[in-house]
Amino acid sequence: MQQTRWSDTVPIFILGLGILLVFLFLPLAGFDNALSIVSLILTPLIAFMLGIFGLRIFGRGSEEREDQIQTLYLWLSIGLLMLSLSELATSIVKTIQSPLPIEVTVGLVQMPGLLLWGFGILQYLRSVNSALELLNSDRLWSVLLIGTTLATLFLVVINAVYNPLIGSIESIVMSPLVIGLVLFTSVTLGLVWIFRQGEFAKSLVLIFIGFFIYLIRTAQWALATSILGNPSNSLFALEAFMFFGAAFILARNLGNPSQ
């Protein structure tokens, strides 16, 4: 049995001390610009990394859901992730030295929600994959990671070339959202296909449709300007939310005897 030892946290403390030293040293040495760049990058990055780290430790194993201390750490990690996004917003505002375009602000606010969706979907995918043993799990994750990164870059480039009306910042913020939703939609579609013969697919279909509609809505933002807040755009979002609600109701009665 491993013990709780202070020494285990040494790497994190060294990192913290290192950052502290850098922040003390750079202004003394006169590198003010470098300091601001470092802080702009590091703050959201560290919050994001530690958030992910916490989720990896405490987000697994649904048998631990009843465990209150696990839940505390889980929420702390989720909080870190959200904070990382607000730090990211600060960094962006600081960089472009002007108020953010409204799409970017809204996009950043959306990100935590989509991140939570993403964790849910991907964790479930892992669980299904471990039960059905469809693909080697390491390969699955590397394919997903590389695929989404490449697709995001590709979308940014496409936007820059064919759609110069959209600012580069907007493009960088919105592209991951779109690609993330494409990923969720295709994963759910895959799951629906796997369980197509069973009752269980019904709730998954609803989630799939929800994702799909939401994807259309977000894609409209990413690919066209000044559509935010249009009634039609809001309608898409509304309908998507409805489908999720319907999925909850179906999932609630799962496994009840049929008749």
């Binding site: 059905l132 013969q197 069973g198 269980f200 496994g255």
Partner: protein
């Protein structure tokens, strides 16, 4: 072999009508039969019971187990007294009474010994012979048997070999080699040892051994002793002990077994462990997909439907999540052997069938079959040679 000798005695006269001794050091049959009849009638008198109540007479390293028929009394001298042995004895007594019914009324020479041989061989000898059993031929065996098939069998095979080797050596099916070996064992011309297999489930009989016994115990064997809890196959126990050499581990267990510090669990217990591991893995995998709540509902529903036919399923319950818990009533029944392996096998099979049929409605046929396939593979790791004692095909669902 756990049976030393078997006797069938006529109750009203106390005459031993049939006996067979497997060790060469049994009691004088007529002496034993008069003793048993006297003792049992004494018990009946003392307790004023109409039904005979004696069940066993115990020595230090043997027990004489007694079972009553209508007009006969069966007794075996055995090293272990459990329900399994009793059931075999009961069947033997019943068959004897059917086959030689006329002896109840008259005394005739019906060549009982030769005619009843096959029944006793099937009940008590045949089950000791498995394809992987090692047989060692006794020296001077030619003087001990006259059976032509046994003689030709022993002439052709090496002095020490497994049944499987013997069958491939003689180019006959394993079944035939097993039958021949049973006959040879019956004649007392071979010695059989069943090697310890990774699937076997052992339990420690002496968790608090006496000082003297511990002195001879190697540290590995002592650690082994504490891992054999009667619920874990040796393959998993070896894994838990992080032993690198499975063969060495099995030898340790064989060493302990020889010294009677561990014993093989009853056949029913083995079936329970095998099936409950399979069910556990299956439920876990299903719950990974649809969650605990639906799987719990399905489990409880299936159990409710089956409890009428298999009342013992009531003792198979779920703890937190989908963790299966066997109530101690069921476990002690299986340890004593008072519930037959077939009943357990049958019940669990139908139970899992019910569950897979119900889950099929949720998930569709293909994923369920894939999960069954994965479960089978996982069980195969734990129970490499007995995995197919579970009828996996019968669980498969059709779309």
């Amino acid at each position: 072999m756990e049976i030393n000798s078997i006797y069938i005695i006529k109750r009203d006269t106390g005459v031993c009508m049939y006996h067979k001794d497997f060790t060469g050091s049994g009691f004088d049959p007529q002496l034993l039969s008069s003793f048993l009849v006297a003792m049992t009638s004494f018990f009946d008198e003392a307790t004023r019971s109409l039904k005979s109540q004696a069940r066993a007479f115990e020595g230090i390293d043997y027990t004489i187990v007694v079972e009553f028929g209508d007009w006969t009394l069966g007794a075996v001298s055995t090293t272990i007294d459990n329900q399994h042995v009793r059931n075999k004895l009961k069947r033997t007594v019943r068959k004897f009474e059917e086959q030689f019914a006329v002896l109840k009324w008259v005394e005739l020479d019906l060549a009982v010994h030769t005619r009843f041989e096959q029944t006793v061989m099937n009940e008590f000898v045949r089950e000791n012979i498995l394809p992987e059993t090692l047989i060692a031929v006794r020296p001077e065996w030619e003087h001990l048997t006259r059976r032509p098939d046994v003689i030709s069998f022993l002439r052709l095979i090496p002095d020490i070999c497994s049944i499987q080797d013997a069958s491939s050596f003689l180019e006959v099916p394993v079944e035939i080699a097993m039958n021949l070996a049973a006959e040879a064992l019956w004649e007392g011309v071979i010695i059989v040892t069943n090697p310890v297999k990774p699937d076997d489930i052992y339990q420690s009989t002496s968790l608090t051994p006496t000082e003297g016994a511990l002195d001879h115990l190697s540290p590995e064997a002592a650690r082994t002793l504490s891992e054999l809890d009667g619920e874990t196959p040796l393959s998993i126990a070896a894994e838990r002990m992080r032993t690198e050499d499975l063969k060495r581990f099995l030898e340790d267990v064989a060493w302990l077994k020889e010294r009677k510090m561990v014993e093989l669990v009853s056949p029913s217990q083995a079936v329970v462990v095998r099936y409950s591991s399979a069910l556990q893995i299956l439920l876990k995998r299903l719950a990974d997909i649809v969650g605990f709540v639906p799987i719990r509902k399905i489990f409880l529903k299936a159990r409710e439907e089956l409890v009428v036919h298999y009342p013992w399923l009531k003792f198979v319950t779920l703890e937190e999540g989908v963790d299966i818990d066997m109530r101690s009533s069921l476990l002690s029944a299986t340890l004593r052997g008072s519930i037959s392996p077939d009943a357990i096998d049958d019940g669990f099979r139908v139970f899992i069938q019910f569950i897979t049929r119900m889950v099929k409605d949720l998930l569709g046929a293909k994923p369920v079959n894939k999960i069954l396939f994965n479960t089978k593979n996982e069980i195969e790791q734990k129970f490499p040679s007995t995995v197919f004692h579970i009828e996996w095909e019968s669980f498969l669902v059709r779309g």
